[in-house]
């Protein structure tokens, strides 16, 4: 419990506890010594008292003056150790051993034959002739002293008699403990404020270190390091240095993380740039070919109008793609039409023709299309360009736009190597990572997810690849946000 307290309390309490324990030990030792010496002193006092009592009682024994013996005992017994607590009493016995008078007549009644009682009490007393002083000690430390009172010619006239109870020889714990208690009290009164001061001073560097640690993340590392205490105490110095090293390492790590974050941002920016370039570049090839067509066959009204419409829709698609990069940009987009499939096929045709790839398109729309044209055109263009590339020289690409009341789907097949569902997922994961070359598939997945649809590879027994882009057929305000 003591260890849970702060140093400024722990130190004075520890000192106090030490003083109290010391005082206790000193008291116990002093009591043991005092008990031994007190018994000797008590016996010496009683020896003197019983001899004096015998001398004073001699003429009274001769006169058989019970009253004056009582007065003598009443006045002198108070001097016996323990008399104030009724643990000591004195009497004068006649020559037969009967009590002439006693200081406490209730316990030592007049006329009681004390010597006869003692003779029956034990073998030690039985052997006594009572011609000299006798001390009889009981098991409980009680002591009885009998001192013969003799005439000048040696005739025994009677006895002076003293009884001391056991507690007379017991250490007076209260008296012994009192100076120890006062000493301890003084020491505590002196040491407690000093202990508080010392404890506070000892704990001050630790508190400063703790305060520095608690401010990590909120205050500049350099400032925290400057706040760390410099202490001559080797233990505290080690703690301070350890915290200092910790702060320095944290600063190095923070700077590294900042650099990594900056690099990551740059990488992300690169990916975005690549994606935008990809999405814009896709229709650009077709548009450039369209301008070439317009230059060569522009005299024909039909060809000119058709080509210009194609160019306009292609440019609108690029515009929508660029606008989608702007945060919270609202794009007014028209619903998809069946003619958009033909536009996309026309734009892709310019890429497929040099490769001699045959494109087969089919539209099966049974309900009005309500999906946005720009996003779906972008998905269709990406999927078809990828399919042309995957089909290889003299290959084929088959596309089918299907629309019903619930959904709009666009399925692309090609004669190239088969792309399984696992291959597609791996490719999309790669596209969302650091490889900027095939953003088409990743963009299609993002568009499908954005419109609560799906984009997946359809496994079948056929050897060619078949991908399907599917979104619900419903109107929606397209809000594109790029974080």
């Amino acid at each position: 419990m003591l260890r849970r307290l702060p140093y400024r309390l722990q130190v004075p309490l520890g000192l106090t506890l030490g003083v109290v324990i010391t005082a206790l030990i000193v008291t116990i030792v002093a009591a043991r010594i005092s008990a031994g010496s007190a018994r000797m002193m008590t016996l010496a006092t009683v020896d003197s008292a019983i001899a004096l009592l015998g001398a004073k009682a001699r003429p009274l024994l001769v006169a058989d003056d019970t009253w004056r013996v009582y007065v003598l005992l009443r006045n002198t017994a108070a001097l016996l150790p323990g008399a104030d607590k009724h643990h000591a009493r004195a009497a004068v016995l006649d020559v037969q051993g009967k009590i002439v008078a006693a200081s406490d007549p209730v316990r030592l009644e007049t006329g009681r034959d004390v010597l006869r009682e003692l003779a029956h009490a034990g073998p030690d007393a039985q052997a006594q002739q009572w011609k000299q002083r006798v001390a009889l000690e009981r098991a409980d430390k009680a002591l009885t002293l009998i001192h013969p009172v003799s005439s000048e010619d040696g005739q025994i006239l009677g006895y002076s008699y003293v009884q001391l109870d056991g507690p007379v020889f017991a250490p007076d714990w209260a008296a012994l403990a009192k100076p120890a208690f006062l000493g301890a009290l003084l020491a505590v009164g002196f040491l407690a404020p000093i202990g508080w001061f010392v404890g506070n001073r000892m704990a001050r560097p630790v508190r400063r270190i703790a305060a520095c640690i608690s401010q990590i993340g909120h205050v500049e590392t350099a400032a925290l390091i400057s706040q760390l205490p410099i202490d001559t105490d080797p233990e505290l110095d080690r703690i301070g240095n350890a915290v200092k090293r910790l702060l320095q390492e944290m600063e190095v790590r923070r700077q590294a993380e900042q650099r990594a974050l900056s690099a990551e941002r740059m990488a992300a920016l690169g990916r975005i740039t690549a994606a935008v370039a990809h999405e814009i570049n896709n229709p650009l090839g077709g548009l450039l070919t369209a301008t070439q067509t317009l230059r060569l066959h522009g005299e024909s009204e039909t060809t000119r109008v058709k080509t210009l419409d194609l160019i306009e829709r292609g440019l609108q698609q690029i515009r929508a793609t660029v606008a989608s990069l702007l945060p919270h940009a609202r794009i007014e987009d028209r619903p998809l039409e069946v003619g958009d499939l033909e536009d996309v096929v026309a734009l892709v045709q310019f890429t497929a023709t040099p490769r001699q790839v045959f494109i087969k398109s089919q539209a099966d729309v049974s309900s009005a299309l309500r999906v946005p044209s720009a996003a779906v055109r972008q998905a269709m263009l990406n999927l078809m360009l990828n399919a042309v590339k995957a089909a290889g020289e003299q290959g084929w690409v088959s596309v089918k736009l299907e629309g019903c009341a619930e959904s709009v789907s666009f399925t692309v097949s090609n004669s190239g190597n088969r792309l399984t569902a696992e291959d597609l997922e791996r490719s999309i994961a790669a596209e969302s990572g650091n490889d900027p070359r095939g953003f088409g598939l990743w963009v299609c997945r993002e568009i499908a997810t954005q419109f609560a649809g799906r984009f997946e590879a359809i496994d079948s027994l056929e050897a060619h690849t078949r991908l399907m882009f599917w979104i619900p057929n419903r109107e929606r305000d397209v809000v594109t946000a790029i974080d």
Binding site: V62, A63, D64, R68, Y70
Partner: protein, 284 residues
């Protein structure tokens, strides 16, 4: 211990006096006091002696002794002109002593002897129960503190040998203290002294209680030698008789728990004389 032996040994032992210098004053009227009264207070005795001195126009000195025999010795030795004795020594020396005054206690020149025991010691109900017990007497020449007890013990069929022990406490007050301290199981005491102690709230009396009260006896008288030639003896008699008639005298009497003095008559002490005669016959 025989009574006579005690007297022989006790008299030299109490040779010291409270007012030793006054004995040397040959012209003063010297009055001996015994434990018949609780007059051991120096201030009271000084007031009383002043009172008497003013009225007698002669110095008066009180001389106190613990035993009656000590006062008798001084009286017969011519060192006292008067003494306040007990009825028993008076009747013993009737031929040598003359009555000066007999105090009134509760309006009469009479008092009783008491047998007392420690409070709540119900095993002692009367003189018969004293057998095998320790009995405290006051003085070998005290009527209430010895003579009455001897008569009652005899009447109860007991002899001194039937007691476990007996001793003299050298005064009625000490008898009360001895019984209160359980030094004695019972005590023979002057009823007037016990009642006065109780009136004054003394602790010794609070711890004792009266078991038996005697018939009425003549109150301890103030006496002088029959052949005393001191000129102030008669005047002392008149002053004592007149104390009850003036406030200062009444104040002193009240302090003594008395109501006055009268001339008295030897006939008052006849019952004591009879007891003494029969007891001394038995003892001798």
């Amino acid at each position: 211990m025989k009574r006579q032996t005690f007297l022989r040994m006790a008299v030299p032992a109490v040779a010291a006096t409270i007012f030793k210098p006054t004995i040397a004053q040959t012209d003063a009227l010297r009055i001996g006091l015994t434990p018949v009264i609780l007059a051991d207070q120096a201030a009271f005795l000084a007031r009383w002696s002043d009172y008497l001195s003013k009225r007698l126009r002669s110095p008066v000195a009180f001389v106190a002794r613990e035993s009656y025999q000590g006062v008798l010795d001084l009286l017969f030795g011519g060192q006292l002109e008067a003494a306040w004795l007990c009825g028993y020594p008076y009747v013993r020396h009737l031929q040598q002593l003359q009555l000066i005054a007999v105090p009134h206690y509760e309006g009469r020149p009479l008092y009783q002897a008491y047998l007392i025991r420690p409070r709540h010691q119900s095993s002692l109900q009367g003189w018969r129960d004293v057998k095998g017990k320790v009995l405290a007497y006051s003085d070998p020449l005290s009527n209430s503190g010895w003579l009455v007890a001897q008569t009652q013990l005899h009447a109860a069929g007991l002899s001194p040998r039937d007691l476990k022990k007996s001793f003299f406490a050298h005064g009625h007050r000490n008898v009360a203290e001895a019984v209160a301290a359980r030094l004695a199981h019972a005590g023979a005491i002057d009823g007037y002294v016990w009642e006065t102690m109780r009136q004054q709230g003394m602790a010794a009396v609070e711890q004792t209680e009266v078991v038996w009260k005697s018939e009425l006896f003549g109150f301890p008288p103030i006496v002088a030698r029959r052949n005393s030639r001191h000129e102030k003896i008669r005047a002392l008699q008149a002053v004592l008789w007149a104390m009850q008639n003036e406030p200062e005298g009444l104040g002193l009497l009240k302090a003594l728990n008395l109501t006055g003095f009268e001339a008295g008559s030897p006939l008052l002490f006849n019952s004591i004389a009879k007891m003494a005669a029969s007891t001394e016959v038995r003892v001798t």
